[in-house]
Symmetry: D2
Amino acid sequence: MNEGPGEWLRTEIGGSTRDSIVVGGLDLASQVMGELSLAELAFLLASGRTPSAAESRLFNAVLVSLADHGLTPTALAARLTYTGAPESLQGAIAAGLLGAGSVFLGPVEDTARFLGAILADTRSDTDDALGDAAEVAVERAIGEGRRIPGLGHPIHKEVDPRTPRLYQLARETGLAGPHLRVLEHVAAAHREATRRALPINGAGAAGAVLSDLGFPPSSARGFALLARTAGLIGHLAEEVRNPLGMRLWREVDERASRASGID
Amino acid sequence: MNEGPGEWLRTEIGGSTRDSIVVGGLDLASQVMGELSLAELAFLLASGRTPSAAESRLFNAVLVSLADHGLTPTALAARLTYTGAPESLQGAIAAGLLGAGSVFLGPVEDTARFLGAILADTRSDTDDALGDAAEVAVERAIGEGRRIPGLGHPIHKEVDPRTPRLYQLARETGLAGPHLRVLEHVAAAHREATRRALPINGAGAAGAVLSDLGFPPSSARGFALLARTAGLIGHLAEEVRNPLGMRLWREVDERASRASGID
Amino acid sequence: MNEGPGEWLRTEIGGSTRDSIVVGGLDLASQVMGELSLAELAFLLASGRTPSAAESRLFNAVLVSLADHGLTPTALAARLTYTGAPESLQGAIAAGLLGAGSVFLGPVEDTARFLGAILADTRSDTDDALGDAAEVAVERAIGEGRRIPGLGHPIHKEVDPRTPRLYQLARETGLAGPHLRVLEHVAAAHREATRRALPINGAGAAGAVLSDLGFPPSSARGFALLARTAGLIGHLAEEVRNPLGMRLWREVDERASRASGID
Amino acid sequence: MNEGPGEWLRTEIGGSTRDSIVVGGLDLASQVMGELSLAELAFLLASGRTPSAAESRLFNAVLVSLADHGLTPTALAARLTYTGAPESLQGAIAAGLLGAGSVFLGPVEDTARFLGAILADTRSDTDDALGDAAEVAVERAIGEGRRIPGLGHPIHKEVDPRTPRLYQLARETGLAGPHLRVLEHVAAAHREATRRALPINGAGAAGAVLSDLGFPPSSARGFALLARTAGLIGHLAEEVRNPLGMRLWREVDERASRASGID
């Protein structure tokens, strides 16, 4: 209300004075360093609270599950960018992150959003109510020709190995919540409606866990990008030791010249 | 040796089959999820080995020390990018990372490189030998008009609060190594030569710790970028809740119009 | 059909042999250099044909109309990125482009798409038919609570000065086509339906011209990014001569510290 | 001098009022649209003055010479990024630009800088003086184990077809200046000193022309990025029509799995 000029220009993420640095409301030197892991700090900065030990374990499990998938387009883009600009590691990592869009990491956010919408429409959280709500949502999506986010995987056709492990860890830590539960109902409703059994994929399960941990869908996507950064750092460290970008370019260029009739 | 065609096209970072996913040589579902934190996985992917508990604690302390410094140019660039392209969170994070170059995060790598060069020239690791080598390197740098990386800070003029904490944690974990030691000699030699006491800054101490943990200077920079990604996710989560990009633009635009005589 | 292995790996954009370079199907040295301007080459690479002199004039007018709008979020992001990474000009330009998303340059593509859909539904291109089709589309959009792309501007409340000029140039060059015509009907239908007169904005008119020149909506967005790159190069050249990134940071940081009660 | 608060927050690149838009000091609607091409506007924004017709022709020839080289690492990075994030064209272009660093486009700037330093040391611009200065600079660089920028090309081993064309156009337009002249002396001095004839490459000749046109080395790099953006737009338009990113990924992934013994 009575906001003075410039009152809007503030942040609770971090700040510093001559003698101290504050991050997420905590004193960096005494309360964060040696006390919180990087993932725990990310949790704090996105949510405003530090995670419990159980939450931290589950949250880290989600992050590592999203970190890398080999020589994907994002890893290749990062390595090829490093080939052309080795002086600018930040550019190579940025290039890798830029391909983490709707096709690859989008499903984490999309699943979170889809499950959240179902739960918002549900009158109770009994299994019957969740099952009914999932059925309605799946049928509507199918009727409108939309894909159900969180189901199916091009390689892991029967089981995505990350999914049962995330469910197990969520149960072990006592943090399995309504999003994970309704996701199982969604998979069942899809199977029922289409007579095809698609596995819950790792991105979908990750989106459900992050929602159960209290994060909004947009943060789910942010964490997927944080996880991917760790993978990209690995790829770039390997590219420094054992470069493949230049050889990939050479091969592509030769084959393209041949295919185009240039020689 | 007997490398067939395409043998060069491989990675040890990650891969998958129908039933399993491997990351850094470990089975993702059973050996990484629930077992390693994101920072520990990043350590593994960059170095090829998992850290001990002590290494993990010190490594995380370095990462959190580099995660955020408030409304810096990189945080502002990320937030302003989000203002124009809210549909593309990866673009906002990439924009934020792109400013983490020579001025802000470069000192981590530069210090690692500077200390590594001193140690490569040192015949023994007694305090006398380290002190002499530091003196020679500092005098040469001053003579050539180069800055000594790792010293001085625009805000923390006497002590950078991260530095004593990193030294303390390195000692507590038994991981204080020659890079941290020679950095103290560098600061002393600089004080001696210039009669000005500059504190060891947090970026410099971080570079020394990462070197003592066995990482090459280029990985030091990669980890700084990973840490910064966590900070950027915090800023963007705050920007979603409490946007300042649009208001910053409006104010800048009005003042610039006035200053340019346009109205 | 009978595609051999690797036949898919080809491009018609460019290629080279020991003695020659081909770009867009033309010999670079003899047919492009000294013969085509950069904008004409971009036209060729996106469409597969070189523009006529009239098309080139109109196309360049669209590009320059989209090049710059002062200290916008994208220009600020580029300058702040340069502040942190002056060694990597490509990073600063990339950061600037990343904010050219749905909010700022999206309207060029969105308008092109909106107009294209109306024309696809229209049985003839008489003014009556276009007017009817525009009316239907505008009413449907209003009914669904969607914004009409291409109308209204936060600063140019009555007339966006780019719009009449683009219409005039399109007429002068004989290239005014159905997209420009239907856009006028859209503006009229919107005025009719809402009793508020919103001007056709420059982005909308640009999208209509690019469509009339035969480009698909996604290319319209690409050209907007090309134009913006020229503006960003100007901002960065000015930032080198007369930096404002560091001062902007200082001011923001001080005000944010005060607002946050840190001092 | 007597700068009030906020006086520093200004730009001469662009601005707007309710009724008009100014770019580079000119009225956009009446003095730029229909009057200047995009390249001419970029020239104006970077230098503060509009080019003559001769300068415009030569400047455009430089730009088109740098626009594309087929499926280079930067084109591949852009296309692979589009594969993962087709909703964000700006991200794909940004990723492509990020690889335009020291290896690929750096030589334009490096040559400009190298030639500028030689000319700054030269007492007159007679051919004898230029030849002597080039000889000294080349010998010093060879003595220090540095590469001479602007010479040699991995594919165009005898003649880079862009180079003679740029020299010819510079002469035709009357704009051949000291940088182009001294670059020929540099090539001769290198041939003399090493007994190997390396051709002047296109990037080097481009850097010399841009310097002769009055631009500082950092602008030379900026223009190379502008030119490359035009090429990337072509690649992405082709990727939309005829995608290769996904197939490239599939092939790389299969071969990497086989090479890594995963199956």
